[in-house]
Amino acid sequence: MRISVTVDGVEYRDDVEPRTLLVHYLRERLGKTGTVVGCDTSNCGACTVHLDGHSVKSCAVLAVQANDREVTTIEGIARDGQLHPVQEAFHQNHALQCGFCTPGMIMQAIDLLADNPDPDEDEVRHGLEGNLCRCTGYQNIVRAVRDAAQKMSPGSGPEAERVDETAVVDRAPMHAGGGE
């Protein structure tokens, strides 16, 4: 089937087998290997990406379901050489060890912060429940997400570290048809 999908700001048109999962399309066709596969049952969340601004497990979405939609992966969130505040917070707080779960964890954390800009520890833990990490025991991940929340809150931190809300909205219709 013919699909047209925008991934990390670039539009691609491809013929795909109907059974192709979005994660396999991203990895094998587009070379977006930053997004990884960690399980076969949608439990681990390593493959989390954004579809029209909302986090999805890309192993649970068919490539054809991304037709005419916008996908953002871990490779598309840094802007102009500047890391996304969540990426930076993961680095600063040592929120990763082997790093395999990290892309999915970061994409889920960004989604979590869009829904709840100032989560407490419990809210972060519940917000990341669908993403498994075997290395960190989660404590530094929780710390990183809360740290990023502080950095991203209006008026805090240097201008360069702030998320440009308008740019995000311009790039993707945040609340259009998510989850379908």
Binding site: R27, K32, E75, C98, C101, G137, I141
Partner: protein, 810 residues
């Protein structure tokens, strides 16, 4: 070259590794795409024990995209037997271990056929077209049953399910007295049987192998912890000259011992790539990983402790059955034996006997998993110390204190024959008690008991030590391990003043690139940023023993120091020559050589250039300052610490909630506190998961029923508490860095702390044991005295409170 002002070692450097990991610019093995690359898929046995009466691949090879479908018969002549490098006794029994089963399968998940196709999807599609006929054999699952005389046999040719029995006796070894006498003479004897359930390492990155063959050489990328050992073993098993094999471990997504292996799939990928003359990739699914990658733990532990009525321990007797699964993998037999030296832990036992029988069953082979033998030992001793305290009616912490090695007694030679070089159990315990609020929690516990609160409070203690820094080669030799325990490092001093460090360790999440950079920066006075650390490619790092057993820093890091010292020794000679002074008058500080009592200086960078261009070197001095060193430790290192866990146990539902977790670890000197803390957190998570959540469950036919992450309960962020961590520091005296190792500490210490805490919460209700994982069902049954008729094994998702235990039981 910049001199560093403050010491790098000890600084909480953010990791160099992160840059590519947080941006998705990683090099996982499965990311590799080579021109003309083919894909392999593996068909696995659905049954645990059967003769293969026929395999028909005719239809599979007709499937779209398929190049070849092969069976064990096809590869029998060339696949050899997978290696076991640790024959623990002279008479150890080991069955042949083919990568692809030839005529019999011995566990569900064993590889029976393979398909190579143009795409991974086509290869997997074709597996369904392979027709295999199995003739069932009796399935051997239970350890106790397997060692009975009339037991069914996993490998009938061996005539028994017992692979080997290994004994350490302190009276025979001359390290202590006779334990049977101690028990006979004892005023108090406590006996318990503990079960170490089977666990699955469950690294997040599924294993993957890519092999690129060319005439006269072969390159293998593998998601492995042990590229050097793998290369050696591939050569040994397949008869390929070692110099023609290059193994690369690119970015590796976790291991925890689970990737310390020479796998069937590594051998098979190599064989088919060579046969087809094309690059071949194999990447496992999560379920394949859980069905075929080695498991960990799985022991029945019979423990007898004897003491005087005043609490002084007099003897410890340990009798283990250790489940090997169906085959002996790389170090399977040695894993429980590592525990032999740790059961006596930090306590001054005068008499000790350890017996372990390794047993075959029709299950996935077991092998190293974080801690490897030492968590099992620590669990048993820390649990039985609590049981002894209960028997004596004393505070379990006081009982420990009465019997542990006091700080002024180091170095101390234990009843198991190890010499602990340093430690201070008093200091770690005092700090942990303070952070924990020990006395206040005990007071609350008394109050809740008195009030009959439906939610009871328990306090669990684990005062552990471990042996790290595997290992002195002579000790490994004495234990009949086939390899040494040294580690290698090489330093290349580049003419621009930058440094390349080549290490034989093989990190897969630990942060060696950052920590090794800190060590080099300090030692040579170069900038942290100017050091590049190279690893994991046998062409680049030609000598190494890889990463496992908390050895990388305590052995590999020390090799880095020794290599740097060699660079400096030569640089001093060259600098003295260039400054025209005697070598003895030259001092080195923060990257600069200076002549004592003068203002004459020369930066190391200038010496590097001078040595590189070699225009003016002393007679007999070779150009360049590169150096390499191999460190073989004299002794293990012995981290220790005190872990305290408070749990709230709901006596009506059996649900357990960790209310607070405090650990104070002494891992010696610390190179990077951020990395150390991260290792402790991750270790705690895995140890707590053993206590509360994880278990590899087989049904009566030997089918693994927990073969997905939906069924095998890896804890999520919601399932784990906040950890309060701190450190005390007594430097190791066995290495120049004073470091001890930290990778396994949290896992080793935490499991008994949690279980002790649960038992402590409900001991007054008649509970003295809850089997792991302590699911609500098991805890409820222990409290309410329900045994037969209530299933002990939780179903999928049933372990976390999704079953109404009360209703279900009644």
């Amino acid at each position: 070259m910049t001199a560093t002002a403050e010491p790098e070692v000890g600084k909480a450097r953010r990791r160099k590794e992160d840059a590519r990991l947080i941006t998705g610019a990683t090099r996982w093995t499965d990311n590799l795409q080579l021109t003309g690359m083919l894909h392999m898929a593996v068909l696995r046995s659905p049954v645990a024990h059967a003769r293969i009466t026929s395999i028909d691949v005719t239809e599979a090879v007709k499937m779209p995209g398929v190049l070849v479908a092969l069976t064990g018969q096809d590869l029998a002549a060339e696949q050899g037997s997978l290696p076991c490098a640790w024959p623990i006794t002279e008479d150890m029994l080991a069955p042949p271990a083919p990568s692809l089963a030839v005529d019999q399968v011995n566990f569900a998940g064993e590889a029976v056929a393979l398909v190579v196709a143009r795409s991974a999807a086509e290869a997997h599609d074709a597996l369904a077209a392979i027709d295999v006929d199995y003739e069932d054999l009796p399935v051997v699952l239970d350890l106790d049953r397997a060692v009975e005389d009339d037991a069914d046999l996993v490998h009938p040719d061996l005539g028994t399910n017992k692979s080997a029995t290994w004994v350490f006796d302190s009276a025979e070894a001359g390290t202590g007295s006779d334990v049977d006498q101690a028990i006979a003479d004892a005023e108090v004897v406590v006996e318990r049987t503990f079960r170490q359930q089977r666990l699955i390492p469950a690294f997040m990155e599924p294993r993957s192998v890519v092999v690129d063959p060319s005439p006269g050489s072969v390159t293998m990328w593998s998601s492995t912890q042990v590229p050097h050992i793998l290369r050696w073993m591939l050569s040994a098993v397949l008869g390929i000259p070692e110099q023609q094999i290059r193994v690369i471990a690119p970015d590796v997504g976790g291991g925890f011992g689970g990737k310390l292996q020479v796998t069937p799939e590594e051998v098979l990928t190599l064989l088919v790539a060579r046969r087809l003359g094309k690059p071949v990739k194999w990447t496992e699914s999560r379920t394949e990983s859980m069905l075929s990658a080695h498991h960990g733990r799985d022991q029945v532990q019979r423990i007898t402790i004897s003491a005087r009525r005043d609490g002084t321990v007099t003897g410890l007797k340990v009798d283990l059955l250790a489940d090997m699964g169906a085959y002996l993998r790389l170090v399977s037999p040695g894993v429980p034996i590592l525990g032999a030296f740790m059961f006596n832990a930090i306590y001054k036992f005068p008499a000790y006997r350890f017996t372990c029988t390794n047993v075959f069953t029709n299950k996935v082979p077991t092998d190293a998993y974080r801690g490897a033998g030492r968590p099992e030992a620590t669990f048993a001793i820390e649990r039985i110390m609590d049981e002894l305290a209960a028997e004596l009616g004393v505070d379990p912490l006081e009982l420990r204190e009465q019997n542990w090695i006091r700080h002024e007694e180091f170095p101390f030679t234990t009843v198991a024959g190890l010499t602990y070089d340093s430690g201070n159990y008093e200091a770690a315990t005092a700090r942990a008690k303070e952070l924990f609020g020990y006395d206040a929690l005990r007071a609350e516990q008394v109050e809740r008991r008195a009030n009959g609160d439906p939610v009871q409070l328990g306090v669990g203690i684990s005062t552990y030590t471990e042996m790290c820094g595997l290992a002195p080669s002579r000790v490994l030799g004495a234990l009949r391990y086939a390899a040494g325990g040294w580690e290698h490092a090489a330093i290349r001093m580049l003419p621009t003043g930058k440094v390349e460090l080549i290490t034989g360790t093989s990190p897969h999440g630990q942060g060696h690139v950052t920590a090794w950079s800190q060590i080099v920066a300090d030692r040579l006075g170069v900038a942290f940023e100017d050091v590049e650390v190279l690893h994991g490619d046998t062409r680049v790092s030609h000598r190494g023993m890889d990463s496992y057993g908390s050895r990388s820093l305590a052995v590999g890091g020390v090799a880095v120091v020794l290599a740097a010292d060699k660079v400096l020794a030569k640089a001093r000679t060259v600098a003295a020559h260039l400054m025209e002074v005697a070598e003895d008058d030259v001092e080195f500080t923060a990257g600069t050589f200076s002549v004592r009592g003068t203002s004459t200086t020369m930066a190391l960078g200038d010496v590097v250039v001078a040595a590189h261009v070699a225009h003016n070197l002393p007679d007999g001095v070779e150009p360049g300052l590169d150096a390499e060193a191999t460190f073989d430790p004299e002794n293990f290192s012995y981290p220790h610490g005190t872990h305290l866990c408070a749990t709230e146990v709901d006596t009506e539902t059996g649900a357990v909630k960790i209310r607070s977790y405090v650990c104070v670890d002494d891992v010696g000197k610390v190179v990077n506190p951020l990395i150390v803390e991260g290792q402790v957190h991750g270790g705690l998570a895995q140890g707590i998961a053993q206590a509360l959540y994880e278990e590899a469950v087989h049904d009566e036919y030997g089918t693994l029923t927990t073969a997905t992450l939906a069924d095998y309960l890896l804890p999520s962020a919601v399932d784990l508490p906040h950890f309060t961590t701190d450190r005390t520091e007594t430097p190791a005296t066995s290495n120049p860095l004073g470091v001890k190792g930290v990778g396994e500490a949290g896992t080793i210490a935490s499991t008994p702390a949690v279980v002790n805490s649960i038992v402590d919460a409900v001991r007054h209700m008649g509970v003295s044991e809850v089997e792991m994982p302590c699911t609500p069902m098991r805890v409820w049954k222990a409290i309410h005295g329900r045994g037969d008729g209530v299933p002990t094994t939780p179903g999928a998702g049933g372990g976390l409170g999704s079953i109404d235990a009360r209703g279900g039981a009644e």
